[in-house]
Each structure stands twice: as C-alpha cells, then as structure tokens.
Amino acid sequence: MPGLTIDLTIYDDEEALLAGLRRREPDACACLIKRFAPLVYAQALRLLGDADEAEGALQQTFIKACDKLDTYEGRSGLGSWLYRIATNEALMLLRQRSPRVAIDHVADTIQADEIPQHLTPWTLDPAAAALNSELRATLEQALMTLPETLRIVFVLRDLQGLSTEETAAMLGLGESAVKVRLHRARLRLRELLSTYMQEH
C-alpha cells in the first residue's frame, strides 16, 4: 500500500485526479486525501467545535464521496463538492447532538452584550497582513467561543463563502434569520478580537 509520501504533481489537475480515482489508483486516492482532508477537517472542526466529531465527519465525508464518485459530474470542483458533503455531515452530527434546538432556535435580534464596546481603531491591515500563528490561534479560539447557532452561520457565510440563500437552504432557515445571525456573529467576534487587535 503506498503511503502519503507521493508525488502530488502526477495528478496536477482535477480531471487527471478524478480519472485516477475512478480507475481506483491508490496514488490518486492518497493524493485526494492529502490535498483535501486537512481542508475538510478544518471546515468540520469549525462547524462542530470538537476534534473527535470533526474526525468522524471527515471520515464520513470521504466514505460518502467514495459512494458518489461514479456519479460526480465535476461541475462544482472537487473541493467544493467535498466541502458540501462535509457540511451536511457536520450539520447532521450537530442535530443529533441537540435535536432541532441548537440550529433552529436563537434570538433573531442583537443582544445587549453584542452592542459594540470597543471603540478603538485597529491598526492591522488584513489585506497586507501575513497572519502569524498567534493571530491564527486567536481567531480560531474566538470563533469557538461563539454560540453554535451563530458560529454555524458565520462559518458557512463568511468562511466558506456561501450566499445567504445557500446558507438558508442548507440550515432550513429563512434568509432574514441568516442575515441577523451573521450580523450578531460578526459583532461578537469584533468584540472578542478587539483587545488583541489593539495590543498588536
């Protein structure tokens, strides 16, 4: 069995990779995992907030991808396709964890503790900043302190880049609820990160 120390350039485009996967070439399989598993894991972890559950979602994602590979048409790109499967897996786990409550019930207005308190400008220019590991850890930590209901919407909209409509459909929510939750998540994150941003 080939390990993961393979030459990734042998499948340098998705078409070649997909053809290799459909021929069940072990190196193609290793390449797919090496290229996409860390991204899928990151997505699952951000949604679930639990490393073990994220690992389970990652495994299920690749098993489901196996099952669907022969019918995959390649319109959305392998990464987007895997992301979508992973998101559905993670959402299913969240619903199992707290049936119908966590995702569906949340106040759809700004809460008192979300009114901006930090009113000092940030000096960091995000477009120019090379994010260091400390800032990355701070960002991820702040994300994990968000209530699940807000974090899920934030991850799908602002991190994964889904539209309001796509996010609403995926979560079974109205678009206005998605907008309010995204707004609340942004305000909370801004507060959480303001102290760090003012000190660096």
Binding site: R24, A37, P38, F62, A129, L159, R190, S194
Partner: protein, 87 residues
C-alpha cells in the same frame, strides 16, 4: 439615523444588501460619528481577515491512522457498474 440603527444595519451595509436611500443615511451618520466609523471599519477588517482564514487549514497533527482509514474506505468501495478497473 441613530447609532443603534447604524449598528443594527451594519452587516446589510457591508454586504451591499441595503437600498440606496438607507445606505445614504448610513453614510451621512458615519461621516459625522467617530464611534460608528470605528465599528464599521473594524467589522470590515474582521470580515477580510476571517475570509482569508477560511482558506487556512488547521494542523491535524499525527493522524496517519485516520489517513489510512480514509484511504482504505476509498480503495475498498464497491466497483462501479460500468467500471473496467481491476483494483
């Protein structure tokens, strides 16, 4: 427009999901209100910052056993009906 109204509509403004008349009112308030200007600017920076972070992986550490399981799942999947492969 009050500061509270500006804060309530901030994301709609940043996402360009606001009608022009309301956006003009926002701009008028923000031009005169330093605090709302700071909140708008920092929220905008946050969105850019975290959008970039979304493309960053989280180190998985020592998870070679997981990689092996994933690989086995792929390789052991049942053959496709139209497949000519032998693996």
């Amino acid at each position: 427009m009050t500061c509270e109204e500006v804060i309530a509509h901030l994301s709609s403004y940043l996402d360009h999901e606001m009608d022009a008349a309301l956006a003009a009112e926002m701009q008028e308030h923000i031009a005169q209100c330093r605090n709302c200007r700071v909140v708008l600017d920092t929220t905008q920076r946050l969105i850019v910052l975290l959008h970039d972070e979304g493309r960053h992986i989280i180190p998985m550490g020592e998870r070679s056993a997981l990689f092996d399981r994933l690989q086995q799942a792929f390789l052991n999947r049942p053959p496709a009906s139209d497949s000519n492969t032998t693996v």
